[in-house]
C-alpha cells in the first residue's frame, strides 16, 4: 500500500443495500476503489467488472508439474539411476506408479494454488494490511473511494452515500 492515500468510505448494513449502491455508483461513473464485506457477496464481481479468477488455471499447471515430477522421477530412478527387479515386475512398472503420481499431482496443485493465492492477494504470515473499519469483518459492507481519483469531487460521493442509505461515511488516511 502506498503512503498518504486518503480514502472515503461508506458502510452499509446489508449486502442488498450494498449491491444496489454499487449499481448506482456505476451509473454515476464513480470510480470505486474497492468493496469490502464480511463474507463473499455473490453478484458483486460482475458489478465491479472483476474478471474471473485464473487461480484454477494455475492449479492445473501446478498439478501437471506435480504429475510430471512424480511420474518422471520414479521412471528415472527405476530405469536409469538404480534399476532393480522387484517381485518379477518390469523396471518401468507403470500401473504401480499411478498412486504416487496422483498424490503428487494433488500435492503440487494444492500448494501451488494456495501459495499463489496468498502472494497475489498480498497476504501471508505476519502481514498487516490496513483495515478501513473493524466492523467490516463483522456486519458492515463497505464501498471505498480513493480521494485522489475523485478529482476533488467529494461532494458527489457524499451525496451518493447519503442517497443510497449508507449508515456511516468516514475518511481515513494511510
Amino acid at each position: 500500500m502506498s503512503s498518504h492515500k486518503e480514502v472515503i468510505y461508506g458502510l452499509y448494513n446489508d449486502e442488498e443495500e450494498l449491491l444496489s449502491a454499487v449499481k448506482i455508483a456505476n451509473d454515476q461513473h464513480l470510480p470505486i476503489m474497492d468493496v469490502y464485506s464480511p463474507f463473499p457477496v455473490h453478484g458483486l464481481d460482475g458489478l465491479l467488472h472483476l474478471s474471473e479468477s485464473r487461480l484454477h488455471q494455475g492449479g492445473f499447471v501446478y498439478g501437471f508439474i506435480g504429475l510430471l515430477t512424480g511420474f518422471l522421477g520414479m521412471t528415472w530412478i527405476f530405469t536409469k539411476d538404480w534399476p532393480i527387479i522387484i517381485g518379477g515386475k518390469p523396471y518401468w512398472a507403470v500401473p504401480a506408479f499411478i498412486p504416487i503420481t496422483f498424490e503428487m499431482t494433488v500435492l503440487f496443485a494444492a500448494w501451488g494454488m494456495t501459495i499463489t493465492f496468498y502472494i497475489i492477494c498480498g497476504m501471508g504470515p505476519g502481514v498487516t494490511n490496513p483495515v478501513l473499519d473493524e466492523r467490516i469483518s463483522d456486519d458492515k459492507f463497505c464501498i471505498a473511494f480513493n480521494k485522489a481519483s475523485l478529482d476533488g469531487n467529494t461532494g458527489k460521493v457524499n451525496d451518493f452515500f447519503r442517497s443510497t442509505g449508507a449508515a456511516e461515511v468516514n475518511t481515513k488516511v494511510f
Binding site: 474497492d34 498412486p99 503428487m104 500435492l107 500448494w111 467490516i136 469483518s137 463483522d138
Partner: protein, 477 residues
C-alpha cells in the same frame, strides 16, 4: 437478491440471528476465560497425551519388543490404531469437500470442526507407521531423497510407500484447506481483539481485509481445493486398503477392499464428528448453529455407510464360501468363530446392526441416541480393523505358527496417548479458533436462517397456488 430455497428444507440457523449476533456467538468461545469443564478436560487429555509420549519413548528406548507382537502377528494394535485414526480423519474432508461440491448447505455448521478433527486424527494416525518400524531415528529413510547410501531409493511399487505419499499429501492438503477457510474468521476475531490477542490474530489472519477481489479468489481457491480433495480423500483409504489387499494373505487379498474401506472410513469419521459435535454444541451453546437438522443429516450418512459396510461384510463371507478356496474359507470361519470371535461379533453388532435404528426418524433426531450410537460405531470400527489385522494373522498357513496376541501396557498406553493428542489439540482449537465457520454461516444466513426460511416458505406456497404463466404467454406472442 432473491435466494432460491427448496421449501421443504428446514432452517439451519435458528434464533433469528443477525450478522452481528453470529459474530458474537461464534467468537465468544475464543474470548472468554476457559470454563471449569474445559480445564478439567484439558488436564485429562494432557495427562493421556503425556502418558502416551512416555510409552512412545519407552518403545524407542527399550525397542519394539516392549510390544506383545510376535513372529506370527507382526501387526497388532499399532496398525489397528493407524487405520482407525485414518478412517476417522476422512469425515472432515468429506464434509468440507464433497458436500461443498454437492452444495449441501448443512455442511457449513460442522465443516470447520470436522476439518480440525481430520487434521488431528491424521496426526495420531501418522504416528503409528513412524514408531512401528522400531528404529524411529532412521524413519526418514521412508522418503525418496538423493542420499549417500547408493543412492538407495524406496520401493515405488510398494503400497506401503504409496501410503506414505497418500497420508502426507492428505495431511498437508487438509491443513491448507482448513487454514484458508480460517483466515477470514481469524480476521473477524482480530478486529474485535485487544492487546496481545490482537497481535496473535493479526499474525494468524495473514492480513485479510475482505476485499471483493480477495473473496472472489478465496471462493475459487476453496472450490478447486474441494475438487481435488474429493478424489484425494477417496484415494487415501483406497491406498490404505492396498496395504492389505495387495498381499497374499487370505482374508486380506480381496478386490472389495477399496470401496469397503472408504465406506468404513466415512462411517467412522461421521461417528467421531457426532461424538465431538454433540459435546461441542452443548458446552459452547451452539445449538442454534449445529441444529437437529445437521445431526439428522449426519445420521443419514452413518446409516448409509454403515449399511454399505454391512453389505461388504456379507459379500466377503459369501465370496469366501463361493471361491471354493479352503484357506479363504478358513480365514472367515476363523474370524467369526475363532479365538477372536468376540471382536467379530462386536464389529457386526456395533457397525451393522446398531445403525439400523436410524431408519426411524425419532432416533435420528434424538441427541441421546445419536451420542450413544456414535460411541458404538467408534468402538465397532476399531474392532473391524482389529479383526482384519490381528485375527487374520493369528491363524496363518502353518498351524505350528498359530499364535495369540494381546497388547502390552505400552501398546495400550500409546493408544490412550493418541486419544490424548486428539482431544488436547481439539480443546486448544476450540479456544483459539471459531468452531463454526463465521463467514460461511453469514453467507448462508439469508438462505437457511429460520426467519428467512419461513418467509421463503410462505412465498413458495403462494407461488404454488398461483403458478407464474407469463413466460409461456410471452413466447406465444
Amino acid at each position: 437478491m432473491s435466494v432460491v430455497v427448496s421449501p421443504i428444507r428446514e432452517p439451519l440457523i435458528r434464533g433469528s440471528k443477525t450478522y452481528h449476533q453470529i459474530t458474537e456467538d461464534l467468537c465468544a468461545a475464543t474470548e472468554r476465560a476457559p470454563s471449569l469443564a474445559w480445564v478439567l478436560a484439558f488436564i485429562v487429555a494432557g495427562g493421556a497425551l503425556s502418558f502416551g509420549m512416555f510409552c512412545i519413548i519407552w518403545t524407542i528406548w527399550v525397542g519394539i519388543g516392549s510390544w506383545n507382537l510376535n513372529r506370527t502377528i507382526g501387526w497388532g494394535w499399532d496398525i489397528t490404531n493407524f487405520v482407525w485414526w485414518i478412517g476417522i480423519g476422512h469425515a472432515g474432508t468429506l464434509i468440507s469437500a464433497i458436500l461443498l461440491l454437492f452444495r449441501q448447505k448443512w455442511r457449513t455448521g460442522v465443516n470447520r470442526a470436522a476439518e480440525a478433527m481430520t487434521i488431528f486424527a491424521v496426526i495420531c494416525a501418522a504416528l503409528f507407521p513412524g514408531i512401528h518400524v522400531g528404529r524411529m531415528w532412521v524413519v526418514y529413510f521412508f522418503f525418496p531423497y538423493p542420499n549417500t547410501r547408493g543412492p538407495l531409493w524406496p520401493n515405488f511399487n510398494s503400497p506401503l510407500l504409496w501410503d506414505l505419499f497418500a497420508i502426507s499429501t492428505y495431511f498437508s492438503v487438509s491443513l491448507l484447506f482448513w487454514y484458508t477457510g480460517l483466515v477470514p474468521d481469524f480476521a473477524t476475531v482480530r478486529d474485535r481483539a485487544k492487546g496481545f490477542r490482537k497481535k496473535l490474530y493479526n499474525f494468524l489472519s495473514f492480513g485479510w481485509t475482505g476485499s471483493a477481489k480477495h473473496w472472489q479468489r478465496w471462493e475459487a481457491l476453496c472450490l478447486v481445493l474441494a475438487g481435488i480433495s474429493t478424489p484425494l480423500v477417496l484415494s487415501v483409504h483406497t491406498i490404505v486398503s492396498f496395504d492389505f489387499a495387495t498381499s497374499v494373505i487370505p482374508g486380506w487379498h480381496t478386490t472389495i477392499f477399496p470401496p469397503y474401506f472408504v465406506a468404513g472410513a466415512i462411517f467412522s469419521g461421521f461417528a467421531m464428528v457426532q461424538t465431538l459435535m454433540l459435546m461441542t454444541r452443548k458446552v459452547l451453546k451452539l445449538e442454534d448453529y449445529i441444529t437437529l437438522e445437521h445431526i439428522e443429516s449426519m445420521n443419514k450418512v452413518i446409516l448409509l455407510t454403515g449399511t454399505i459396510v454391512g453389505v461388504a461384510y456379507l459379500t466377503e463371507l459369501f465370496i469366501a464360501w463361493y471361491s471354493g478356496y479352503v484357506y479363504e474359507q478358513f480365514a472367515f470361519f476363523n474370524r467369526a468363530l475363532g479365538p477372536y470371535w468376540w471382536a467379530y461379533f462386536g464389529m457386526m453388532t456395533c457397525n451393522v446392526l446398531s445403525p439400523q435404528i436410524f431408519w426411524i426418524k425419532k432416533f435420528r433426531r434424538s441427541i441421546y441416541w445419536t451420542f450413544l450410537l456414535s460411541i458404538f460405531v467408534n468402538i465397532g470400527m476399531w474392532f473391524e480393523r482389529f479383526v482384519i489385522i490381528a485375527t487374520t494373522l493369528a491363524r496363518d498357513y502353518l498351524p505350528s505358527s498359530w499364535s495369540l496376541y494381546s497388547p502390552s501396557w505400552v501398546e495400550i498406553g500409546i493408544f490412550i496417548g493418541t486419544l490424548g493428542i486428539f482431544f488436547t489439540f481439539y480443546l486448544i482449537f476450540v479456544r483459539l479458533a471459531p468452531v463454526v465457520a463465521i463467514a460461511e454461516i453469514k453467507h448462508i444466513l439469508k438462505a437457511a436462517g429460520d426467519q428467512y426460511v419461513d418467509k421463503n416458505n410462505a412465498h413458495a406456497k403462494q407461488a404454488a397456488l398461483h403458478p407464474p404463466v407469463h413466460h409461456e404467454t410471452a413466447e406465444h406472442h
